[in-house]
């Protein structure tokens, strides 16, 4: 009894002990979890400590979903922090078949990242995915396909292609979309799959759901960008679908259709109709244009730009102005978008500034704009200068020249100079604005103004326009003004510029009244004197110009004692300068002066101990000759380019935005227009014209026919119907659409007449034709199936928006 009682006692004891332990544990775990609740579920994972990392393996092996999730989240957090966690691969892969969707998703994220490094282990998961491809849930099917195709293990290439093929015929458009993207991945993994991928793409192209067609367009671009023959039948349907496709799909589809149109349709142009010029636009091109026009109303900027690209690169000139307000609308969306759209607008406006002139106020610069935006807006404003708006714009430029950003200030001053050149009427206003800067502006404004004035003065003098300008703004007055301010101008290039101007335009005709030294404008010697004083502290570029100035002045007044002394001073300093260019220049100019001023030569020479003074041999130039050397033959000042963007910038390319060439170069460049568009019956849907291969051949011969028949093979204006061949075959088609033999007969006849060139082509043609024929039969075979399946999707948004 006692023993029993003891036992019981023991039992009770152990029970209470266990119970209390259990209670403590529950409490513990509960408090831990509530702590989780308080601080949010995942921050703990993100700051995982080493302890936690050690536990990952245990968690992944555990039976509880919660712990597995815990382990996986810690792993993902580590990936986020840039740590390599591939060591856990085997433990993760075990969970790939978990019933918990969240676990599976996290496993997928991990798998996709590390499958490449562990191909053998990755193979373990393949079965699960293949099974998932038959799941009733389209989400699981598409996820399985995405992961399967994303595991970059070439060994399973064939399995993946099979799975893609299966999914391409799925009932859910979401799965078909995943299939289209998987086609790209298969191709990137191993390009040798191409032959089996193209039929998949062909069947996907027939998709009537706007959900998946964008992905198909992407796949087409990536896998077989030049197989336009596959698109003929679908072109018109794709155009009409455009408006219902999602934004990303619209961008891809527009790009594909644009490339198709540029390769297959005839270039829009002008035709003479009843004495009046009118636009000629291929009806199929017009279809694309009118299907793109509503997309200008999209909220997605990439779609708006894609549509603008269509109108800019494919539309006739008369329809180009339609892109103006959609593009301007994008400017106010966000800083990033504004920056990008501005650089595109530069390309557009360079081509057709007129359309944008009324909207110049959209480009006024704000002080809070970023430097790039300021620069681009200014470039655009300069391009939009016109006789009507130059006064408003000039006022703007003057404001910009007071900005705190020095580079922008100098751009603004250049813009004023540009204004003076482009619109002659504005020259007086521009000059007074520039002179105002020199009097009161900031350092940056002063130096740029000098540079701009130099160009203006030079052009003025050379074009002999000085008569047109008013007295206060005559070029010589400007030079005089500049000369007076040499002390205030700090920028070396600007100083050099003034000194050059002074030297170049210092001569005064003898018959004019002049208070200074005869033959020299009164301000010139003073510049020489003032800069000579600071010679040693000047930059080389200023020293060089000062030597030239000294020479020129001496040339104009060879006997003036003070000038000789000044020149001698300058030349002596220059001769022993640190900079060898300055030394060389001084020596050269000194030699030139040999025949000009006896006195200068003597004094100059006497200082030069090392060289012989009088007879150095060679040719000594007379004063008139030296004048010719120094003063004449100046080139017209080069037109300053404000816009630096390349002329070939492509709308919608990264290249146009960053200004740097991208590795792939011009992948966004559209192909050139064909000499002659292909026959439009090519694009008739197959239901209407079963004998498709024949028509394609016929249209090609039309092309040849016109090129051999007409003298200009590259005729850019497509003709509506006057081509005899064209009409001939068209007639043929309508009457004998189902008798291809007769068409063949005509072809043979034609080739007999044709030159040798076309015979080579003929071989290619027939080969292609065979391909097309086989493709065609398949298409016909599969037609029934595709029709049946697409019925499900007819309730889609396509029908909604009718």
């Amino acid at each position: 009894m006692a023993g029993r009682g003891l036992n019981l006692n023991n039992f009770a004891e152990s029970f209470t002990e266990n119970a209390s332990r259990l209670g403590a544990r529950i409490q513990e775990s509960f408090s831990e979890h509530t702590r989780d609740l308080g601080r949010g579920p995942s921050s703990g994972y993100f700051d995982a400590t080493e302890d936690r990392i050690k536990n990952i393996r245990k968690h992944l092996d555990s039976n509880s979903d919660r712990e597995k999730l815990d382990g996986l989240k810690t792993l993902i957090a580590l990936i986020s922090r840039g740590r390599n966690v591939s060591e856990f691969f085997p433990y993760v892969v075990k969970n790939v078949a978990s019933q918990n969707l969240e676990i599976r998703k996290l496993v997928y994220i991990y798998l996709l990242r590390y499958a490449e490094s562990e191909p053998d282990l990755a193979l373990l998961s393949i079965n699960t995915f293949q099974k998932d491809l038959t799941d009733y849930n389209p989400l699981i099917r598409s996820m399985a396909l995405r992961v399967l195709s994303g595991i970059n293990v070439p060994m399973i290439g064939n399995i993946v292609v099979m799975s893609v093929k299966k999914c391409a015929a799925d009932t859910s458009p979401y799965v078909r979309k995943a299939a289209a993207f998987a086609v790209i991945k298969c191709y990137q993994m191993d390009a040798s799959h191409l032959p089996s991928l193209i039929p998949i793409l062909e069947s996907l192209l027939k998709d009537k759901s706007p959900l998946s067609i964008g992905a198909v367009a992407d796949a087409f671009q990536e896998v077989c960008p030049t197989r336009f023959d596959l698109l003929h039948k679908h072109y018109r349907r794709l155009c009409r679908m455009l408006v219902d496709v999602d934004a990303w799909g619209q961008v891809s589809l527009i790009e594909l259709l644009a490339r198709y149109a540029r390769s297959m349709l005839s270039r829009p142009g002008l035709v003479q109709k009843e004495g009046e010029q009118s636009d000629f636009v291929d009806p199929d091109l017009q279809l694309l244009l009118s299907c793109c026009e509503p997309l200008f109303m999209s909220r997605n900027p990439a779609v708006v730009l894609a549509a603008a690209r269509i109108f800019f690169y494919l539309g006739p000139d008369s329809q180009r102005s339609k892109i103006v307000s959609p593009l301007l609308r994008l400017l106010h969306q966000s800083a990033g978008i504004e920056r990008v759209v501005l650089s595109y607008l530069i390309t557009v406006i360079r081509n057709s500034p007129e359309a944008f002139i009324p909207y110049y106020s959209s480009f006024l610069v704000k002080t809070i704009d970023s430097p790039n935006v300021k620069r681009d807006k200014l470039r655009i404003l300069v391009m939009l200068l016109s006789v009507d708006n130059f006064q408003a714009l000039l006022r703007e430029f003057v404001v910009y020249a007071e900005d705190t950003d020095h580079e922008f200030v100098s751009e603004a001053v250049k813009a004023i100079g540009r204004c003076a050149r482009v619109i002659p009427d504005s020259a007086p206003n521009c000059l007074s604005a520039l002179m105002e800067f020199i009097k009161h502006g900031s350092d940056a404004a002063i130096s740029s103004s000098v540079l701009v004035l130099k160009t203006l003065v030079q052009n003025h003098m050379q074009n002999g326009q000085s008569a047109a300008s008013t007295a206060s703004n005559s070029p010589l007055r400007i030079v005089g003004e500049l000369a007076a301010r040499i002390g205030e101008v700090k920028h070396p290039a600007a100083r050099a510029c003034i000194i050059w101007l002074v030297g170049q335009y210092a001569s005064v005709p003898d018959d004019q009244p002049n208070q200074g030294i005869s033959g020299i404008a009164m301000w010139a010697p003073d510049v020489l004197r003032r800069v000579a004083k600071t010679f040693s502290s000047e930059e080389p570029v200023v020293k060089l110009q000062l030597c030239t100035l000294a020479t020129k002045l001496l040339l104009l007044a060879p006997d003036h004692q003070t000038l000789i002394l000044l020149a001698r001073y300058v030349f002596n300093l220059a001769r022993y300068d640190m900079d060898y260019d300055v030394r060389d220049r001084a020596r050269m100019l000194g030699m030139l002066l040999h025949g000009v001023s006896q006195e200068f030569r003597l004094t100059n020479g006497s200082m030069d101990g090392a060289e012989e003074v009088v007879d150095r041999g060679g040719v000594v130039l007379r004063r008139e000759q030296v004048k010719l050397v120094l003063f004449e033959g100046k080139l017209q000042a080069p037109e300053e380019k404000i816009s630096t963007g390349g002329e070939s910038d492509i709308l919608g390319s990264l290249e146009a935005v960053t200004g740097r060439p991208m590795s792939l170069g011009s992948s966004r460049r559209l192909p050139d227009w064909p000499d002659e568009g292909t026959d439009s019956s090519l694009r008739d849907a197959e239901e209407e014209y079963p004998a498709a291969p024949v028509t394609s051949i016929a249209s090609r011969t039309v092309g040849f026919g016109s090129s051999s028949k007409f003298s200009s093979p590259a005729s850019r204006t497509p003709v509506g119907g006057p081509s005899p061949q064209g009409s001939f075959y068209n007639n043929n088609k309508t009457s004998d659409a189902n008798t291809p033999k007769s068409t063949w007969k005509d072809l043979d006849k034609f080739y007999e007449d044709g030159d040798e060139e076309s015979e080579e082509e003929e071989e290619e043609e027939s080969e292609e034709d065979e391909e097309e024929e086989t493709a065609e039969t398949k298409v016909v075979e599969e037609k029934d199936d595709s029709d049946a399946e697409s019925d499900d999707d007819d309730e889609g948004p396509g029908s909604e928006s009718e």
Binding site: H33, Y45, I184, I337, E396, L654
Partner: protein
């Protein structure tokens, strides 16, 4: 078109999320993070080029970036991709995240980084945007909610799992089987004005852009027809994909099956019609005038501002006038009229004058001096922002909302609000 991936950085430059760089190798995202942080170390974010060139060993690439909630969203692109594509994807991502975590901040994203990863996995397939409609995403990625947290704590299996029937809706932007006890729909007409005014007070350019934010709680598959009282002054309109464009082009009516929840229904530019002619943008008058006078001296300057409301019926709220005083400015001391406050931010050297409420016709002034160690060169313009609640510049009115397809009559609410940003040169 393909983007290379998404990186989300904290303000300190540390990545929170980086994903989808499978084809590029592990160094690629690091290069972009480095390039971005280096560029940022040289200048302020506002002055940073939104498209940075980055040299990677695959060849040149670029990093498009934007800021939201103290986070930087980076989107590297390589090859000749339109950066607008990257920017619109970033914009979409931010909208989706906003839907999932309410306010986007470093803390909220760190708390829910696993959700962000799951979202990005669904939104991007190898760089191609996949599923970006919020209504579809909600079916396949569970938003973090208090309820699921509680369930997780209780250790119970989570029954609020993703919809059993994803991808079932024929409209990607609307879920199937939405049910509300109260059917209601709210339209917020938000308009924002941007303007530039030159020295003598002439308005050089002013534009008003409007946006109709909609919050829709309607059951089933309602087909709505929304008409406005006057649509002539609405220009450059753009719409949510749900809107039938043809109907708008023909009848100027909005016909649509709305997404569930909040979305932007349309955007427009308000352009007043002058005798039936719609021409180039015409300046729209500002609701106030500012008379600035600044005198600069060697060691500072005197500033005298007067701001007068030009509205006759409405109150302008939260008028903030700011001026960067420029290098060398050490301090300022001002007196302002009652109802206003002023401040000087010594770090940004910015003078700030704030008026809480300016009733019709009221006039306010600020007088003061500022001191500097050198001759100051203040920014050439004042930046002024303001709000006018319960009012729009356009005066756009909803005329009628008809519901087809469903039997109920929803409660509808319409609200207007205006904000403005003006650059006023002096």
């Amino acid at each position: 078109m393909v983007i290379d991936g998404i990186i989300i950085l904290e303000a300190s430059g540390r990545p929170i999320v980086q994903t989808n760089f499978r084809s590029k190798g592990p160094a690629y995202p690091l290069l972009h993070i480095d390039a971005f942080n280096n560029a940022l170390s040289e200048t302020q974010y506002a002055n940073l080029d939104p498209v940075l060139s980055v040299a990677a060993h695959h060849g040149p690439s670029a990093c498009c970036h934007m800021e939201c909630g103290g986070l930087r969203f980076l989107c590297p692109v390589s090859g000749d991709v339109d950066p607008l594509f990257a920017f619109s994807f970033l914009q979409t991502l931010v909208e989706v995240l906003h839907d999932y975590v309410n306010d986007i901040s470093p803390t909220s994203l760190r708390d829910h980084f696993d959700v962000v990863y799951q979202l990005l996995e669904e939104m991007l397939d190898n760089g191609h945007p996949l599923t970006t409609e919020r209504n579809t995403l909600r079916d396949i990625v569970l938003p973090p909610s208090l309820w699921s947290k509680v369930l997780a704590v209780a250790g119970a299996p989570d029954f609020s799992k993703t919809s059993a029937n994803p991808f079932a809706s024929p409209l990607p932007w609307r879920k199937l089987g939405v049910k509300y006890a109260n059917n209601e729909i709210y339209f917020d007409i938000n308009e924002s004005m941007t303007a530039i005014v030159n020295k003598n007070g002439t308005v050089l350019s002013s534009q008003v852009w409007g946006e109709i934010d909609t919050n829709c709680h309607l059951s089933g598959m309602p087909d709505l027809l929304l008409t406005f009282r006057d649509t002539k002054s609405l220009q450059d309109c753009s719409f949510h994909p749900c809107v039938r464009l043809q109907k708008w082009s023909k009848d100027k009516m909005l016909s649509f099956v709305p997404p569930d929840g909040s979305f932007v229904l349309m955007e427009f530019r308000y352009s007043p019609v002058v005798s039936g002619v719609v021409s180039a943008p015409r300046p729209i008058p500002l609701p106030f005038t500012l008379t600035p006078s600044i005198t600069l001296s060697e060691n500072g300057g005197v500033i005298d501002l007067t701001l007068t409301s030009r509205l006759s019926a409405r109150v302008i709220e939260r008028i903030v006038v700011e001026l960067v005083l420029g290098r060398g400015v050490t301090g300022a001391s001002c007196t302002v009229s009652s109802g206003a406050t002023w401040g000087f931010d010594p770090k940004a050297r910015r003078l700030r004058w704030e008026i809480q409420k300016a009733p019709q016709g009221a006039s306010y002034s600020l007088r003061g001096t500022f001191s500097a160690t050198e001759k100051p060169s203040p920014a050439r313009a004042f930046q002024i922002s303001f709000d006018i609640s319960q009012n729009t510049f356009s005066g756009l009115k909803v005329d009628q909302l008809r519901v087809q397809n469903e039997g109920y009559k929803p409660y509808k609410g319409v609200r207007g609000k205006s904000i403005g940003d003006v650059e006023w040169r002096w």
